[in-house]
Symmetry: C2
Subunit: 209 residues, 2 copies
DNA sequence: TTTGTATTGTTAGTTTATTAACAATAAAAC
DNA sequence: GTTTTATTGTTAATAAACTAACAATACAAA
């Protein structure tokens, strides 16, 4: 399939999240305007995205929830799955591991890493925690390709380097430290302060009107 | 000032984060390409954003770090500040409170709420936790205008309603539950699974090439 | 002094993303 | 059986975001 627009990929993920909830509620079909409402966008956008991935719904009946979930899976997920690790098991790292637990079968957190010897022996929501100096070994052994970075900001840059050296293909960086990675490593992540400040700007502008 | 593009506001927040680090390192001036490198965008974009907010740097010397920080503050922040609360003090809520601690003076978390009586008495990183049934009272008393929602998904919709009733103007929803709020309440938030799935799609597409 | 270089500010151009519009048509209403 | 309505799929139009290009110019080097 042709490469999809960035924003469409992002929305596909959101669609799936919403559709999984629908499926859990035994809903078999959904209209474009319903799906749109769930994630606060327009129905046109939904239809356009769905067109882009080559799916067609049934007129006056909507989209088949199961089929759509499965198609989005075929687009976003890989056949054999991708493995993910979390580096830095503080509050944020733990929250993320718990949040992921059991959510996906094709994108699984299989390892955690920490520098603190106390944490290293433990298993968090089913994910074993290894000492940070085994990072490279474990990543290669398990074939992990994506890392979520939740270490303290001061050590983030160093750990980032190590991750790249270990062969990681994508990093989601939640630390406030800018990472310096090579061109072909995907870099994601966002800052909660930025989310808040956007909200603040909106609230401010709204009040002035 | 004319309303700024959404993306520019987002980047202004990121610029400030980077600039604050620079200031801490006693850097007084910064070039567009340096600032760009820190957040992985192009220098042109930096210059354009800075043009939009009406600032001008010094030729061959770059932008004054202090001045730029202060100008971004005047744009994003409000004169008298905005108050923020966190609803649901689990791992994620705590991580957020800690992350914010002391970071901003114009955007301050002043209250937390939880349903668990054990947590209610405590103070988290300087933020007192109130019982959820005092939500409306405390929000009105303290003049809180933005809420960060980190309760379990099952209760999110209900709590969202209450927040709106209490006069909240913006909600950052980190739960996976779609919220149903009125038109003029700002709604933000981000899903970490979506971040990951975007990364996965990228890694997958890259490999196929 | 003159020339060359680095860097800003800005305009115009391009690409990407969103929205509007509407033909097609299945189902429902009459 | 005919008309109306709701909904999809798609194309065309608009808007937003980004990028390229370059004039202007301060500073450094020659
Ligand atoms: N992006 C955001 O919006 C956001 C929000 C909250 C926190 N954060 C950031 O996320 C990071 C983690 O936050 P937290 O609240 O969980 O912090 P935390 O201090 O609770 O956790 C950090 C963990 O990293 C471990 N660690 C320290 N050095 C390490 C190393 N060299 N290698 C591996 N592990 C190491 C520590 O033992 C600890 O368990 C921080 O950088 C914080 O600033 C970002
Ligand atoms: N957006 C994301 O990427 C992301 C990541 C991680 C977690 N989450 C979500 O964030 C939420 C919190 O995650 P967590 O790991 O901190 O969960 P958690 O279970 O540790 O925390 C939830 C807290 O909410 C409190 N609570 C329960 N009912 C409440 C109510 N009615 N009013 C107020 N407080 C109430 C609980 O006492 C608990 O302290 C969950 O919905 C989770 O799915 C989202």
């Amino acid at each position: 399939m042709k490469i999809l627009p960035d924003k469409t990929v992002e929305r596909l993920s959101q669609y799936r999240r919403a559709l999984l909830i629908c499926r859990a509620e035994n809903k078999t079909h959904i209209f474009s305007h319903e799906l749109a409402g769930l994630i606060h966008i327009t129905p046109v956008q939904v239809r356009r995205d769905i067109m882009l991935i080559g799916y067609t719904g049934t007129l006056r009946k909507g989209y088949d929830v199961h089929e759509l979930i499965s198609l989005i899976g075929r687009i976003i997920d890989t056949e054999e799955g991708l493995r993910v690790c979390v580096v830095g098991i503080g509050d944020l790292g733990r929250a993320i591991i718990r949040y992921f637990k059991g959510k996906r079968t094709k994108l699984v957190i299989t390892a955690a890493f920490d520098a603190n010897p106390e944490k290293v022996k433990c298993v968090y929501s089913g994910v074993p925690c290894y000492p940070i100096d085994q990072l490279e070994t474990v990543i290669k052994e398990q074939g992990i390709s994506i890392a979520i970075l939740t270490v303290p900001g001061e050590v983030a840059a160093t750990v980032g380097q190590t991750l790249e050296k270990a062969g990681i293909k994508g990093i989601i960086n939640y630390t406030p430290t800018p990472l310096n990675v090579s061109e072909n490593t995907y870099l994601g992540g966002y800052d909660m302060i930025t989310s808040l400040e956007k909200a603040a700007y909106f609230v401010k502008s709204n009040r002035e009107m």
